[in-house]
């Protein structure tokens, strides 16, 4: 079920990205909605691919749903925010040394997932990615193949 949803999201996001580029190709100037469509499509396709890779047959993504939701929120909120926030001026406030929109890009989208995704991968590795039992099953298949070949 999870994989089906991820595949559906993958298809929908690819269509959205294609629509953004088609909109830019056919119009005299790039329409505003094309940037929104590309932002939404890109965020969704990254999430869909990650979910597709992490989900296991019949088990979904389990507790990984939380870090994946965080990643998706960071992308959507981050890109959405920089599309609607006011432009920089010489007197713009600085957030940790950068104007607000640049700070959202560099610290939010560019840094925040670093503190979530790799740790989620490591902490759920045995239970959600590869257990000793999984590895044993794979190695048994290899031995069976070797035996058959011999």
């Amino acid at each position: 079920m999870t994989r089906s949803i991820a595949l559906g999201a993958l298809l929908a996001s690819a269509l959205l990205i294609a629509a953004a580029y088609l909109g830019a190709l056919v119009a005299d100037s790039v329409p505003v909605w094309a940037s929104w469509a590309l932002m939404l499509g890109t965020s969704t396709i990254m999430l869909a691919m990650t979910v597709l890779g992490a989900s296991r047959r019949g088990a979904g993504v389990g507790k990984l749903a939380v870090p994946f939701a965080v990643m998706f929120a960071v992308l959507l909120v981050g890109f959405g925010a920089v599309l609607v926030m006011p432009a920089e001026t010489p007197s713009s406030a600085l957030w940790f040394g950068l104007p607000p929109r640049a700070a959202v890009v560099l610290y939010g989208i560019g840094t925040l997932p670093l503190f979530v995704l790799p740790f989620a991968y490591a902490l759920t590795f045995e239970s959600m990615t590869l257990s000793d039992a999984d590895l044993e099953r794979v190695r048994c298949v290899k031995q069976q193949r070797s035996g058959t070949a011999a």
């Binding site: 990205i17 294609a18 890109t42 950068l98 104007p99 925040l112 990615t129």
Partner: protein, 509 residues
């Protein structure tokens, strides 16, 4: 903006001459660096006895070697020279090329790392197209993937070899042609004798050097600009748009970078291929953290130097640059100790050589393994022919680099996009979706090849130009994904079940 357009279409490497760097300290550090590389090459040569050793390091490398070597192979000299120059030219928008790094390594770990490594557990995998061939039971799909890799590799290698020639010429003052051949021969010497084993361990050394140099330079960036706030205030006073989220790019162009360099990261064979080499698959646990942290640290120079030099130009400390690519050399030679500058210039050579080495390996494997498999043949002695193919590909790339700057520019612009559009659907989606079919894989690889080659050629000869922000790489990637999904869906009843039991197990665990 030409640089930005070129980056969007593939990988931009150094293509213009660097200022002369022939100073004793810089030359001395470079010589010491090449001596270490040679020593690693000799050590690896003694351990390379089989084709498995040559192409996949005998499946015997550890986690640190995997992560740092992958980082070094990912970053070319562009991260040190072209990238900071691009930030100097277009501002924050240039950061969108490297922005996905916070996500891509974890995504790659979930999508590909485990499955690729387990494929190497059940079958004797030595190339990325091997995985495609096994997944779809299709020599045709494997051969097409190998052909795509070979085309992209020659172009990518030519641009990297040219960049290496420029760096060596700047350091030793030997001229561009000698620079190209010296760089090629040094890389070839350790690649052809020690294979990917030599490549991985030189990458480990080179990656460490790159990360160390980048962190130290960033400290000088902050000191020179009175901190990030000082740099921002200086730039905001004269050019606020430079520090806007898109810089001088359009939102569509910046977001296109994120899409192509984000999703496209799943189709870079010189990185994906390294998953086969890990000794114990359970060590993948900490791979995303190590790889992401290493890339993050190494890219500090990319962002920092571009912003710092812009601030220095704005406040009149240095004159405006004639060429954006001079940003890094100027900053290093004027604002950092000479020894650090020497380390970075060696780091640039290191970054380029590590990328070239990876391309030599996957190109040779495509030529001696994947293409013969597609034609129903097997090469008798893959180790010997692998070495011969490495030499042939390297000489072709060096001749192309030496012969024509125009040809190099043309070949170099579509490497990344060709890898992404031909490999992401068939490999990354296909290894995670049992409904994907052989016909879908073949159609998507063919789509990526045709769309990339046709539109890049039309664009290069100015027959047709896309609007700003629309790149061939992005279009071919999204087209190949859609074709893959559509054709797989249309052919799902005819060959959807054509997966071998061992491959099916790898896809299910």
């Amino acid at each position: 903006m030409r640089e930005a357009a070129a980056v969007g279409n593939g990988g931009v490497i150094q293509s213009t001459a660097l200022p002369p760097l022939t100073q004793p300290v810089i030359v001395g550090v470079a010589v010491a660096y090449f001596a270490v590389v040679a020593a690693i090459g000799i050590w690896a040569t003694r351990r390379t006895r089989t084709a498995s050793d040559f192409f996949v390091a005998g499946q015997g490398i550890g986690l640190w070697a995997l992560a740092i070597a992958s980082m070094a192979a990912t970053l070319s000299g562009f991260a040190f020279i072209g990238g900071p120059g691009l930030v100097y030219s277009v501002g924050i928008g240039a950061v969108f090329i490297v922005l996905p790094v916070s996500i891509t390594n974890s995504m790659g770990a979930w999508v590909l790392a485990k499955r690729m490594r387990l494929l190497a557990e059940v079958r004797d995998m030595i190339t990325v197209p091997d995985a495609i061939g096994a997944r779809y039971r299709s020599p045709l799909a494997q051969g097409l993937a190998g052909l795509s890799i070979l085309i992209a590799v020659v172009g990518y290698m030519a641009t990297n070899v040219l960049a290496l020639g420029l760096v060596i010429d700047a350091i030793f003052g030997v001229g561009l042609v000698w620079g190209i051949w010296i760089g090629t021969l040094i890389t070839l010497a350790y690649s052809v004798s020690g294979g990917i084993l030599a490549g991985v361990y030189t990458d480990l050394f080179q990656g460490g050097l790159m990360a160390l140099a980048s962190v130290l330079v960033f400290v000088y960036v902050l000191e020179t600009g009175s901190g990030l706030s000082g740099i921002s205030r200086t730039i905001l006073a004269s050019d606020p748009g430079f520090l806007g989220p898109w810089g001088k790019l359009t939102p569509l162009a910046a977001l296109s970078f994120f899409f192509v360099f984000g999703l496209g990261s799943l189709g870079q064979p010189h990185v994906v291929h390294k998953f086969y080499m890990l000794r114990d698959p359970r060590r993948l646990k900490w791979y995303p953290l190590l790889m992401t942290a290493a890339l993050f640290v190494t890219l500090l120079l990319y962002v920092g130097v571009g912003l710092a030099v812009k601030a220095l130009v704005v406040n009149g400390t240095v004159p405006a640059l004639g060429r954006a690519d001079d940003a890094t050399p100027l900053f290093l030679l004027r604002f950092t100790p000479l020894l650090l500058a020497a380390l970075v210039f060696s780091g640039v050579a290191a970054a380029i050589m590590s990328t070239v080495n990876s391309f030599m390996s996957i190109g040779a494997a495509a030529l001696t393994h994947d293409l013969p498999v597609a034609l129903g043949r097997r090469v008798g002695n893959e180790l010997r022919w692998g070495r011969i193919a490495t030499v042939v590909i390297s000489i072709v790339a060096a001749l192309v680099a030496q012969a024509s700057g125009t040809l190099v520019a043309f070949l170099g612009i579509f490497g990344w996009g060709l890898f992404a559009s031909t490999l992401v659907p068939a490999l990354a989606i296909g290894l995670n979706w049992q409904g994907a079919t052989r016909a879908g894989a073949v159609a998507s690889i063919a789509t990526g090849l045709v769309v990339t080659l046709v539109f890049e050629t039309l664009g290069y000869f100015r027959v047709y130009a896309f609007p700003a922000g629309v790149t061939v790489s992005a279009l071919s990637l999204v087209a190949s994904v859609l074709v893959f999904l559509a054709v797989s869906w249309l052919t799902r009843t005819s060959d959807g079940a054509a997966i071998d039991p061992d491959i099916r197990l790898v896809m299910e665990v």
